[in-house]
């Protein structure tokens, strides 16, 4: 098994705010090209890598594995002198922002280093300057002059978190956008495993766009590719400070299998059996209504697609310091490959509803 860490670090060092995924898509393209039979891109920009199965083409079913490659981030909504006011793309708790290093993706194509600043109370409307400062009042300062900003930055320019990836104890890595680049890394491991594993089904490795805003990437890719079944790989909540309870899972302790209306019980069952057979620790992840992953959209495509959610536990989701265990990424990749290899030609015909 190759060492995925350097690829993961480069994945979380490159931008891809929802709707603007080109930089990360280019990096994934490069990595996947030697691992798939063909690689194309959807109209919205999702990557479709086909690893062809061995069954006769006319009767060959396909499984789509969706790992969203987009990231939460910020967008410039107003410029005053050298200061940029920003709004959120995707779910961001404004409390993590003051003092956070960011990268402004300027219209000129330049990436500008910056920091999120919290204005003093006397510069804000009455009553808004104490306690938590609302996102709309926060500013990005790039250290440049008003003149330089006027030349480089426009309303609508994107801003990414600027935290650098770091390796931590216990084989963990921390940085921003591990949600969901850790899953892209896991799918990459799966493709590497499949190079020497026979599988009868076609595999569509998909790096989807815009999950953090509409799930629209996976939805449209599922429509275009019309897979027989679909699996979303995403992050779930890691146990940690302030995070406990049934929704949270120890990091480095295994991956999770969703139990949800979004999930086809037959797929869950197969994943569980495969995990037990190859001794990969898995935990049940209860999602009583929505899975809040690409699965929710893929399930409802066309006449409906049986879907599954496989998740990697992560601490501090949607903050600049997300934290995952490399072991869990490896497990997710391997479990995916074993699941794919387990799919018989008539797997779908064997579905039995109770």
């Amino acid at each position: 098994m190759s060492d995925i860490l350097p690829f993961l670090k480069s994945l979380i060092s490159v931008s891809g705010v929802s709707g603007h995924e080109v930089p990360v898509a280019n990096l994934i393209k490069q990595k996947w090209t030697p691992l798939v039979n063909e690689l194309t891109q959807s109209k919205l920009g999702s990557l479709h890598g086909l690893k062809a199965g061995s069954l006769k083409k006319s009767i060959r079913p396909s499984v789509m594995i969706a790992t969203h490659m987009d990231a939460i981030g910020l967008m410039v909504y107003r410029i005053v002198d050298e200061f940029l006011y920003v709004t959120n793309i995707g779910g961001i708790d404004a409390r993590v922002l003051p003092g956070t290093p960011v990268i402004v993706h300027a219209s000129t194509g330049e990436d500008l280093y910056g920091v999120v600043a919290m204005p003093p109370a006397n510069l804000l409307p009455d009553g808004e300057g104490s306690g938590v400062i609302a996102l709309k009042y926060l500013l990005v300062d790039t250290g440049l002059t008003p003149n330089e900003i006027a030349k480089k930055v426009r309303v609508g320019d994107r801003v990414s978190f600027g935290t650098e990836p770091v390796e931590m104890s216990g084989g963990c890595v921390s940085g921003h956008t591990l949600d969901n680049r850790a899953s892209v890394a896991a799918l990459t491991i799966c493709l590497e495993e499949l190079q020497s594993k026979s599988h009868v089904w076609d595999v569509w490795a998909v790096a989807s766009v815009q999950e953090e805003v509409t799930l629209g990437g996976a939805e449209t890719s599922a429509f275009q590719l019309r897979p027989t079944i679909a699996v979303a790989v995403d992050m779930t909540f890691g146990k940690g400070r302030g995070s406990s309870g049934y929704q949270t899972f120890g990091i480095g302790k295994g991956v999770t299998l969703g139990i949800s209306p979004s999930i086809h019980p037959f797929l869950y069952k197969r994943f569980k059996e495969v995990a037990e057979r190859v001794e990969i620790p898995v935990h049940d992840d209860m999602m009583p209504e929505y899975s809040s992953t690409d699965a929710d959209a893929m399930q409802l495509v066309a006449e409906g697609i049986p879907t599954m959610v496989l998740s990697i536990p992560q601490r501090y989701m949607h903050t600049p310091v997300e934290l995952v265990a490399m072991k869990d990424i490896q497990r997710a990749g391997r479990l995916l490959a074993e699941f794919i290899a387990s799919l018989e030609a008539d797997f779908i015909e064997r579905i039995v509803w109770d």
């Binding site: 005053v80 002198d81 200061f83 779910g91 708790d93 404004a94 409390r95 993590v96 922002l97 003051p98 003092g99 956070t100 290093p101 280093y113 920091v115 600043a117 919290m118 003093p120 006397n122 510069l123 804000l124 409307p125 808004e128 306690g131 938590v132 400062i133 009042y137 500013l139 300062d141 790039t142 250290g143 440049l144 002059t145 330089e148 935290t163 650098e164 770091v166 390796e167 931590m168 104890s169 216990g170 963990c172 921390s174 909540f237 940690g240 400070r241 302030g242 995070s243 929704q247 990091i251 809040s292 601490r315 501090y316 989701m317 949607h318 903050t319 600049p320 310091v321 934290l323 265990a325």
Partner: protein, 349 residues
Amino acid sequence: MLSIGSSQIKLLEKLCNAMAVSGAEGEVRRIVLDEVKPYADEVKVDALGSVLVRKKSTAKKPLRVLLDAHMDEVGFMIVADDGDGFFQFETVGGIDPRHLVGKQVFVGKDHTVGVIGAKPIHMTTASERQNTISVDSMRIDLGPEGKAKVGDRATFATKFKRVGPSIMSKSIDDRIGVAILIELLKHTPKNIELCLAFSVQEEIGLRGAKVAAHYFNPDLAIAIDSTPSRDLPDYEGRENISYNTQLGLGPAIYPAHSPVISDPRLVKFLAETAEKHKIPYQFRQPGGGGTDAGAIQQTRAGVPVVSVSVPHRYTHSPVSVSRVDDWKNTLNLIHAALKDMDSSLRGGR
């Protein structure tokens, strides 16, 4: 004119990236000692850990001038080990807790990387997100097998950057003052006896400067520090009348910082020196926020003092912003002032 070139930038980068939380200034002290030894006539580390440097004059009965810059920075101390790599911490110095969650930190002598995490937004309620997160509910997470000792210090892990006309870094307050003192030692005019205090524990009560000033017994003293610029736009477009200082307008001379009144002769002398040498300068708006000048003024039978600061935005946060030109102009103002000083500035009226 003295300039800020790549060697000065490199030194400031090294100083800013070092960890020197008040009371544990060793990393910066080592850098300072290495830098000053070749140029000083006397170097000592005092009882609190400040580096005290003397450069003699060739004049008879020279004016003895103390320049002070503090080596310490605000930061954290590990106070309890919760197990599984989680550590409770306290802040050291004035840190706004709103700057802490979602940040990377360095812990201990090895600069072990940790993070101060936050509950995922998905698991919070809208009303919960209106409440600030208290320091005692935060933990530094060093990873599941992370090790640290109670008493270890920690700082923000952000790295120094040189960007356009600016520098962006933690601890510009007051490593920029430390860098200025080192540069001035290399260019000391011979008319004065120059005493340098690279002081400790400024951020927690001006402690190092107090005893350093006692040791030197100077005729006058200037605290070289870094002061906040609150020169941001008003959200509703009203005039910002409480900016303290503004980036890019040059060294900030303090007429007063509550409750310390600078010696008016020194304020006038510095402003006149700046005018004479065509060096831009600004007056810091009088108001709160202390410097070591406060402690030095009350030393022995009293010392005439003034503070001069390089302005920075975003005080005591992971990333402050200063202009290289303000740094250069502060360096040159103090250099010109030292050259122009004579015994008429000696204390007593």
